[in-house]
């Protein structure tokens, strides 16, 4: 077992039985994506951090109600998204930070093959278009494509059925396409 990370299900099972070290492993494993989910909703660093932290604490106390046969990640991220939405609703300053591309310059270290697939200008056009979308559209596209959640996970995090998530994503993509067609 040494050297091989435990599966989520095993960590969640141990955490349910009171093994705090197992829960800590889950927090470390999903801390970053939890923060990013919260940031997509709040677009505020401090609010995102508080949301993610609060969500992990709530999840800790909710572990007895977690179904061990269900995946941990979408369950956790759903709690994060709910917490972030609640905070976003009460934020007076609704205008959050904009998405931006990673600070990779064409002249510096070689970009990853994935990044190289899109020209710098294309990336900036795409991110600018994302920033012009409504928060709801940006959220669904962000979960699915920027964070790489599966359709099922996206539905879970949005707290909607799979079919609803698919149609919401489809509409968001149509609006993204429309924004891309607008003059800059």
């Amino acid at each position: 077992m040494e050297g091989r990370p435990l599966e989520d299900a095993e960590l969640a099972r141990r955490a349910r039985e009171g093994d705090d070290a197992a829960y800590e492993d889950l927090v470390k494993r999903y801390g970053q994506i939890a923060f990013r989910v919260a940031w997509l909703v709040t677009r505020d660093h401090a609010e995102a951090e508080d949301s993610a932290q609060e969500a992990f604490v709530k999840a800790y106390y909710a572990l007895p109600r977690f179904r061990p046969d269900s995946p941990f990640r979408p369950w956790m991220l759903k709690i994060v998204a709910n917490e972030a939405r609640n905070r976003a609703r009460s934020m007076r300053r609704r205008q959050g930070l904009a998405l931006r591309t990673a600070a990779v310059s064409d002249g510096d270290a070689a970009p990853s093959p994935e990044t190289a697939a899109l020209a710098k200008e294309d990336r900036e056009v795409l991110v600018a278009a994302l920033n012009r979308l409504s928060p709801a559209d940006r959220e669904v596209i962000g979960y699915r494509f920027l964070l790489g959640l599966s359709e099922s996970e996206t539905a879970d995090v949005l707290d909607v059925r799979l079919g609803t998530a698919k149609s919401r994503l489809s509409r968001a993509m149509a609006r993204l396409r429309a924004v891309l067609e607008e003059p800059a």
Partner: protein
Amino acid sequence: MTERFRSMNDDDLGAALSTLEIGWPPAPDLAPAVMARAASGMGPGVVRLPLSRRKRILLIAAATVLLLTGAAVAAKIVIDLGGVVLEVTPNRPGVLPTPSIAPTGGPITLREAGVLLGRDVPISERLRRPDRVWADKVFTEVGEVARVTLGWRARPDLPKISGTRFGAVLMIFEGDANLASKEVYEDTGVLKFETVEAVDYFWTRGTHLLELLTSEGMVYVRVDGNVLLWRDGPYTMRLETSLSKAEALRIASSGGTT
């Protein structure tokens, strides 16, 4: 739109989005703070009840001392009972709604309430069978959570609660999801703590604000009645009456079943 995007279908556009490298803000290390809060059972400024009994008593005692001494409490004292969170704040806001009964959800039978809660509904001998039974379901991060409300019309031994036609209203909150928050104001309210037969009870008197998450959304209700709160296994109980603390405690501690 660049030519490149014009020629893309949704799948290709999705793939292009997936390859974007977003400049995410640096993610903080959440583990130390989360685990510290989990280990202590406390969040910032939060006194959480589901702890060992010894810790719980110490925390409640500390909160009670602050209240009794009238200490200027800079921050809220928050006591988390699970379904209901009690918040003691220094001053009441200038404007409060008129007193009323909190939204109850739809009418159901006592038997249906038992099925919903997964247990027999506890009925005090003193109150007898309720005149009305309602239920509401709220979707929370831990799934769907039920709130059952029982109402007894006012009668000679159950004086009317201000703003309602009822003499007693018992709300039963399922689980630990915080569905309700009670703001008790130091200048107009009273919070007392009492243990009867190993059950911890919180008694609040005077005007307070009840924030309640319902299936219709968040509602804010001014409550002028006397309210007793306690945990009964996985349930949080909230009994509102016009009775004295001693009478309310007798009712609460004599809860039989249907």
